[in-house]
Symmetry: none
Subunit: 194 residues, 4 copies
DNA sequence: TATGAATGAGGGTTCATTCAT
DNA sequence: GATGAATGAACCCTCATTCAT
């Protein structure tokens, strides 16, 4: 099965280059990182990158692909009989928990480009953001009356995104616990107000 | 008072360049815009920019300065006797309302750079983000018991940031009304859950 | 006769590659065509070309070889008793008639390289140009007195080359008929001049 | 008159670069010559070339411009009462005489590109070829009956082009004298044929 | 202070060629 | 012989920045 072997080797090299690209982009940013940098980090010649990726932008797309895959496998489906509190906690904690180490930097780099590249934004939204935010959204939605569903979904999504953004901008920021956020959302402000 | 006059003229030129930079960066993005572009838009020679700003990055810092000033003046202090609902609405609406036209694009561009430049991030957080988010925060805080104050502030901040981000990524996104968001936050989820 | 067979197979592959090179060079030009293009058109791997040809330039030489062979077989020897008019017509028409479709484009490409590569020019002149132009020249020469022979040969050659060049440069150019050219050359200008 | 001065200086630099480009292209050919080569020959930095010419192709166009100008000034209008023989001689000799030293190499380089670049060909034909060939053509035409005019013009043009091409391909080729060519054309072949 | 031509490092990318399989 | 991934030099061009005027 020579074919299978060479295909596997090819994919390995591709991953090797992609790993390097991720590391380099995370460290220097997309624009500041040169293809030469990526090649050096991957231990290949500059021209070799183009055997695996059409151009620099394709590296970004491939990174989004990988994030998409990781997001999918990192999102546990909540049990059907979960109560609302647990659902809220899961909806908030899962994406935040995914933001560790390299993934954080990856998200940072991708987001920076996404803000400036319309096409990339479309890909990012479809492949990463929507799955990440709506995973528990469906179940959450089933607990809510139609009228306020959209508001709540948007709100929870915004909270997650906003918290991530805060962490991206200020690495030292101490984010509240998902449990506390869930409790606050559940109880509402009415009771605590004077 | 020759000095004063020349100083005023200098500041005028500086503003002229900065206006051009804002327009160009907003339209083409920071990296895609060249100093030549900025100079052309400002009606000056490329070299002249460096009489007013040390380098390209300094333009970004100056833009943040200006955003900071505008954010301050655009944030109306709420009346001391405002009720909680109105405060929430203001806290959410004000920053969202500021995101119109060029400001949106500028925010997009700055944010993209901020994500990648640590020093710029620090400036941005201190000069733009914190004032923007905490403007009504203080008053809001006064209505809340100490224990949940941080959670709520973070949450409202995150909602605002998250909604802005969603709009930046998906220009077609329909965001919920601040009133609906405030009402939902006030009432909480508890009552609507089955 | 294994050797003979493998030799024949080898020559077949070689022709296959050469055909592809001709087609690709004619379509894209020598510099614009990459070895990858040629390989793809030939249905072989890029590296395989180098089993048959030393390098890209060798392909050009081989093409000239083939043109030389074709030129030889395409040039009918005029009957010994042909009259001068028919000889002139043949001398002009034959090379022009050979310039059809792909051959035209090939000639164009070769000529472009020949103009810039001294060694290639030498080959081209000896192998293609001289045979092409002098085919009927010998017979033509036999009708002419020694003194004016060279002038006439050069002139007829130049006419043919010049017409081809005009067509290469301006595809829409309408060239005069060989018959008319022959008649004009035969009669001379003297009579028509006032 | 600062403006006038700077304009003149600019044109000088431009000429300096163009001279270098001509020399380098003539020596190495268009494709083989790099912008670095041209810059080095011109004694400027690589990037400086782009202050005067949009890109490498623009250098070629500028060279054509220059050839066009030289061709125009090198073509003396024949006296109205010139006889046919002198006209023929002039029509043949003038373009051939222009092909000296650098101009020859220039013509070689331009022609090589013209054969491969359709747009360039159009420019070349309009700006250089047509003026060069038709200069004496008009006067020549006035001596000819309408019916054979086109044939003769094409033929004389072809002779000139063909002779030039022969010299470009074979630098050692000994071309016939314009006088002999004119005499042969005038007398025709009829009389010399047995 | 304003200019804008000059700079030259560095960018992404191509491609003829090699060589281990 | 055939392969095609790997190579890396070289390509054209951009652009932030400088500096003589």
């Amino acid at each position: 099965m020579t074919s299978s072997l060479s295909v596997r080797v090819a994919r390995l090299k591709q991953d090797q280059v992609l790993d390097a690209a991720i590391a380099v982009f995370a460290r220097k940013g997309f624009h500041a990182a040169s293809m030469r940098d990526v090649a050096a980090a991957a231990g290949v010649a500059p021209g070799s990158i183009y055997n695996h990726f059409e151009n620099k932008a394709a590296l970004l797309l491939a990174i989004i692909d990988r994030m998409s895959a990781r997001a999918a496998e990192a999102t546990p489906l909540p049990p059907a009989d979960a109560n609302l509190r647990d659902l809220l906690i899961a909806a908030i904690r899962t994406p935040l928990a995914a933001m560790t180490g390299e993934t954080t930097e990856l998200f940072r780099v991708i987001l920076a480009e996404v803000l400036v590249d319309r096409d990339l934004a479309e890909q990012f939204r479809r492949r990463v953001l929507d799955p990440m935010l709506s995973a528990c959204g469906d179940v959450l939605a089933s607990h809510l009356p139609q009228v306020s569903r959209d508001t709540w979904l948007r709100m929870v999504s915004a909270i997650v995104l906003g918290l991530i953004l805060q962490r991206l901008i200020d690495g030292d920021a101490v984010l509240p616990l998902p449990e506390d956020l869930a409790d606050a959302l559940l109880a509402g402000l009415q009771d605590v107000a004077p």
